[in-house]
């Protein structure tokens, strides 16, 4: 109960100004550090989806998610552990073109990490890799070690539950039904 673990908080909201602030306030009050954050329009028009990861105790994440869910413009908030999710991060690596060309085992490296080249010019080259944190980190370390990495960026996590449907679509249709029967 008292051990911290990584939780992925998934929030569906109306697309209104200032919502991110309302959400982060609740993390701040409980002294929870946001590890990664990703925000984008969801599959449902007009609905935004937040994916936030944080290390917390089970009891704490439960309370925090309830408090987020309570905000007026939040449609639904829930949390999962990694077992319930398919999740991914995307990373970009800028390296020197010259060094990359000279590097031994480039083909093996690209195959091993399933990375791809996005852009290449005389000076530098941008590689892209998506995967779990450990995987994008491993490529970073390998590149740093061999030829050095000029620039590196990693996105926040995006995740999808392993269950069949997004719970939100059920919820929204239930709400619609309720209004229509009124």
């Amino acid at each position: 109960m008292n051990t911290k673990q990584l939780y992925t908080v998934i929030i569906f909201s109306e697309n209104t100004v200032g919502l991110l602030n309302q959400i982060t306030i609740i993390f701040t009050r409980r002294q929870l550090n946001i590890e990664t954050l990703s925000v984008s329009p969801s599959a449902i028009r007009g609905v935004h989806k937040f994916t936030i990861t944080t290390f917390a105790e089970r009891d704490m994440i439960d309370k925090v998610v309830k408090q987020i869910d309570k905000r007026v413009d939040i449609l639904k908030a829930y949390y999962n552990t990694d077992e319930d999710l398919v999740h991914q991060e995307i990373a970009l690596y800028k390296v020197s073109s010259e060094l990359f060309m000279k590097m031994k085992g480039v083909e093996e490296l690209i195959r091993k990490y399933n990375a791809r080249v996005l852009e290449m010019n005389e000076d530098c080259l941008v590689l892209e890799k998506s995967g779990h944190y450990a995987e994008t980190q491993a490529l970073f370390e390998e590149l740093s070690h061999s030829i050095g990495v000029l620039q590196f960026i990693r996105s926040g996590r995006i995740a999808i539950t392993k269950s069949k449907v997004e719970p939100l679509s059920d919820m929204l249709s239930a709400i619609e039904k309720k209004i229509n029967t009124k």
Partner: protein, 568 residues
Amino acid sequence: MDKTQITGSEALLRTLIAEGVDTIFGYPGGQVIPLYDCLYDYSDRLKHVLVRHEQGATHAAQGYARVSGKTGVVLVTSGPGATNTITGIADAMMDSTPIVVISGQVPSPLLGSDAFQEIDVIGITQPITKWAYQIRKPEEIAWAVSRAFYIASTGRPGPVVIDFAKDAQTGTTDYLYEKVNHIRSYQPFPEMNQGSISAAASLINGAKKPFALVGQGVILSGAEKELLAFLEKADIPAASTALGLSAMPTGYRLNKGMLGMHGNVGPNRKTNDCDVLIAIGMRFDDRVTGNLQAYARQAKIIHFDIDLSEIGKNVTVDVPVLGDAKETLAAVTHLLKPASHTDWIDSFRTDEQEEYEKVIEKEIHPQGDRLQMGEVVRKVSDAANSDAVLVTDVGQNQMMGIRYFRYSRTRSVVTSGGLGTMGFGLPAAIGAKQGAPDRTVCLFTGDGGLQMTLQELGTIMQEKLNVKIIVLNNHYLGMVRQWQELFFDKRYSATTMENPDFVAIARAYGIRSRLATTRRELDEAIAEMFDSDDAYMLVADVETHGMVYPMVPAGAPITHIIMERERK
């Protein structure tokens, strides 16, 4: 369904009227001058109470809301006008009080430019409101304002802020009022779950020593009758949180008093003796529970609440009953078997007797010459036939007020619970009188708290409000002094107060006033106070080292009760 072009200011006022508003507490300033200009034409339909400081407007709106059940409305200007409302907004958030605060804002093209009297009101108030919204276009007014009232008043009520840009006040719009009564992302009244209703009923039916904790949720839900039916059917003794007071009348057979730090001895002890603890519309505040590790460990806990985020927040609950108390209490009552717990209920008597001897008798029938706070409160309550609205400030005056005042009907207590805002009392009493003009309003305040919002005496003068103000003057910041005496070796750091002549101050505002130092003066002053229909300030010069007992020290188990001064 007329659709006409009107200014944003007029659209706002029309929407307020459509939402049933008749009173506004406010203070004009640069960015709301167009709105106030429009208000001039609506003064026959919207009464504006001019306060003396914007904080006063928010507390007045709270007082108004608490006694009337309606949403309180505040109107202030931008910048400092808005920042001055923060304390009241935070207080309303903590105590679930429905208020709508409308603040002026600089014209929208200037937003973000540090314009004169511009402040990020939405950013500041988001953590302390249910909803905060900035209106930048007149077309948004009808929707946003109606939505504000819907959010403030439904589910677990709370404050809403509307930040109203000046160009939206002056611009024109097609206006059509449409009541908001649904927001798809907001479910104020969670649906009742039959499973938890029957689980709660069966726990109560099997209980030998059930005990109910009554919170403000009962009052907010209008579930007072349902509560009494519930308690009666299963013969359950009950006690209130500070904000739940007056949901049950004082003398009621099953009403065992108040919970918490300065609550009654019986309810606190019995919390750790009952077998089923039934919490209704309360949130297990630390002032109620004391040390959570030692709180009701022996009991099965049932928690009725409308707010899912309160379930399991502080106390692990065996049966949560989510929903509106009016509905859920009735549903559980339906499944209860009539029961009788005479021995259990009688067992409160020992504690009541002990508290009476060690605390109450000394407080209301003191032997010494100095006036005690408790005796002043009880005498005023008796003189008001136990039927007045009690408003308090915060501190010893508050605890004495709520302990010794008596209540015969609901919505009779207006006090700052969660935030504990000194300075709340005087403006809240102004609002309470506006919200319940036919009732007697008695404010108990201290010499400290009174001076935090003293300027509102001007509002009482201007509005000719019949508010009875009783100042319990002990020349100290009494509650802090009490802690210093008990826990800080009597080192009275920054708690002595050199006070002005309060009687002279009251008189300067045209308010009748009298100083009472002796019992005779007190009796005469009380008689004089209730003799007229005007405001009155009774300044009671009370025992300087008076203490509020019983007391459960902060963080101690709720059964660790200090009853009297240690004899040395």
